[in-house]
C-alpha cells in the first residue's frame, strides 16, 4: 500500500541541470502546469476561433467562464477594476483547471504545493501593493487607518489592520494548498481502506462502507476544487478593490 503522501512527490521527467542544491527539471508538476494552460488555451482560444454570433458548445462554455470572471471583478472591485480582468481570469482558470486535473486518478495536483499557491498569492498581493502605491502614493497607507475613530484607538487598530493585511497572502495561499492537500490525502486513505478490507479475510464484508465514503469524498472534492478557485478569485477581487479605493 502506497503512502497517502506519495501522490504529492515531485518526480523529474527530464533533468535540466542544477542550481546549487536544487535540481531544475521538467517534472510531473511542470507537466500538469503545461497541461492546465493547454486546456485553458484549447477552451478559450480554439473554442472562440470563429467568434460566432450564435455560440457553439465550446464558445458558450468559454463565454460563461469569461462572463463569470468579468462579473465577479465588476461586483467586487468596481467598474474601474476591469483592467484586472486578465489577471483574475488567469488566476481563476489556472487554479480551477489545476484543481480539476488533480481529480483525474493518478494525476498530480499542482495546487497541493504551498510554494505554488504562495507564489500565486504573492502575485496578487504584490499587484495590490505596487498598483496601490503607484496610483495613490502615501494615501494607499490610509488602508491601515480606519476613518472616524478616536486617535487613541488607532494605536490598537493600526497594528490590527497591518496584521490583517499581512495575513492576507498567508491565508490566501494556505487555504488553497490545505484544502487540496487534505482532500487528496483523505481520498487516498479511504480508498486505501477499501483495498485493505478486501484483502483482510472476513472483513471484506465491511469494504463497501469506505467505498461509499470515497465516492462521497470525490463529490466533495469536485466541489472543493471549484469552490477554492472561486474563493481565490473573489478574494483577489476584494484585495484589488483595496488597491483601487484605499481608505475605509
Amino acid at each position: 500500500m502506497a503512502s497517502p503522501i506519495e501522490q504529492f512527490e515531485i518526480k523529474p521527467i527530464v533533468s535540466l541541470g542544477k542550481i546549487g542544491a536544487s535540481e531544475i527539471a521538467f517534472t510531473n508538476s511542470a507537466l500538469f502546469m503545461v497541461a492546465a494552460v493547454a486546456v485553458i488555451a484549447l477552451l478559450f482560444v480554439y473554442g472562440t476561433r470563429n467568434r460566432s454570433l450564435v455560440p457553439g458548445r465550446l464558445q458558450a462554455l468559454a463565454e460563461m467562464g469569461y462572463e463569470f470572471v468579468a462579473s465577479t471583478v465588476k461586483d467586487s472591485a468596481g467598474h474601474d477594476g476591469m483592467k484586472f480582468v486578465p489577471l483574475v481570469f488567469s488566476l481563476f482558470m489556472f487554479v480551477l483547471v489545476c484543481n480539476l486535473l488533480g481529480m483525474i486518478p493518478g494525476a498530480f495536483t499542482v495546487t497541493s504545493h504551498l510554494v505554488v499557491t504562495a507564489a500565486l498569492a504573492a502575485i496578487v498581493i504584490l499587484t495590490v501593493i505596487i498598483y496601490g502605491i503607484a496610483k495613490h502614493g502615501a494615501h494607499f497607507f490610509g488602508l491601515f487607518v480606519p476613518s472616524g475613530v478616536h486617535p487613541l484607538m488607532l494605536i490598537i487598530l493600526v497594528p490590527i489592520e497591518v496584521i490583517s493585511f499581512v495575513s492576507r497572502p498567508i491565508s490566501l495561499s494556505v487555504r488553497l494548498f490545505a484544502n487540496l492537500l487534505a482532500g487528496h490525502i483523505a481520498l487516498k486513505i479511504f480508498a486505501g481502506f477499501v483495498a485493505t478490507l478486501i484483502f483482510a479475510g472476513g472483513w471484506i464484508i465491511l469494504s463497501p462502507l469506505p467505498l461509499l465514503l470515497t465516492i462521497a469524498i470525490i463529490a466533495l472534492e469536485f466541489l472543493v476544487a471549484v469552490l477554492q478557485a472561486y474563493v481565490f478569485a473573489v478574494l483577489t477581487c476584494i484585495y484589488l478593490h483595496d488597491a483601487l479605493h484605499p481608505g475605509h
Binding site: 512527490e9 515531485i10 536544487s22 503545461v34 460566432s52 455560440p55 488567469s90 487555504r175 490525502i185
Partner: protein
Amino acid sequence: MAAPATTTGTTAHGGAAPAHGGSFPPFQGDTFASQLLWLAITFGFLYWLSAKVIVPRLGTILEDRANKIGNDLDEAAAMKAKAEEAGQAYEKSLAEARAKSQAIAQETRETVNADSAARRKTVEADLAAKLADAEAKIVATKTEAMSHVEAIAADAAGAIVSHLTGTAPAPADTAKAVKTALGG
C-alpha cells in the same frame, strides 16, 4: 477553519513517516526552484494569452452580440413605427374617401332638390296664371250676363206693363225703372 487544522495534523503525520522519499513533499525545499520556474513560465504565458487574446476576443464577441441585438431591436421598433404610420395613413385616406363620398351625395341631393323645387315653382306659376285667367273669364262672363239681365228685365217689364195697361211704355222709361228697382 477545520481544513488547515486537519492539514497541520496530516503534515506532522507525513513528516513523521519519512519512509517514502524523505520529508513531506510540499516542504522539500529543493523542488521549489523548479516549481517556481515552471509556474513563472506557464502562468506568465497564460497571463499573456489572457491579456492579449482571450479577454479582448471574448469582450469583442459579447459586445458585438449586444450591439447586434440592440440594433435588431431598434430596427424592429422602427419597422413597427413604420407599419403603424402606414396603418394611420390608410385610416386617414379611408376617412377622406368617406367624407368625399358623403360630400358628393350631399351635393347631388341638393342639386336634385333645387331642380325639382324650380320645376315645381314654374308649374305652380303656370297653374296660378291659368287659374287667374279662368277667374277673369268667369268675372267677364258674369258681368256680361249681369248686363244682359237689365235689358231682359226691362223687356220683361215693358211686356208686362203693355199686357196690363195695353199701352207699351217707352223703352227708356222701363230701363230707368228697372235700374232703380234693381238698386242701380
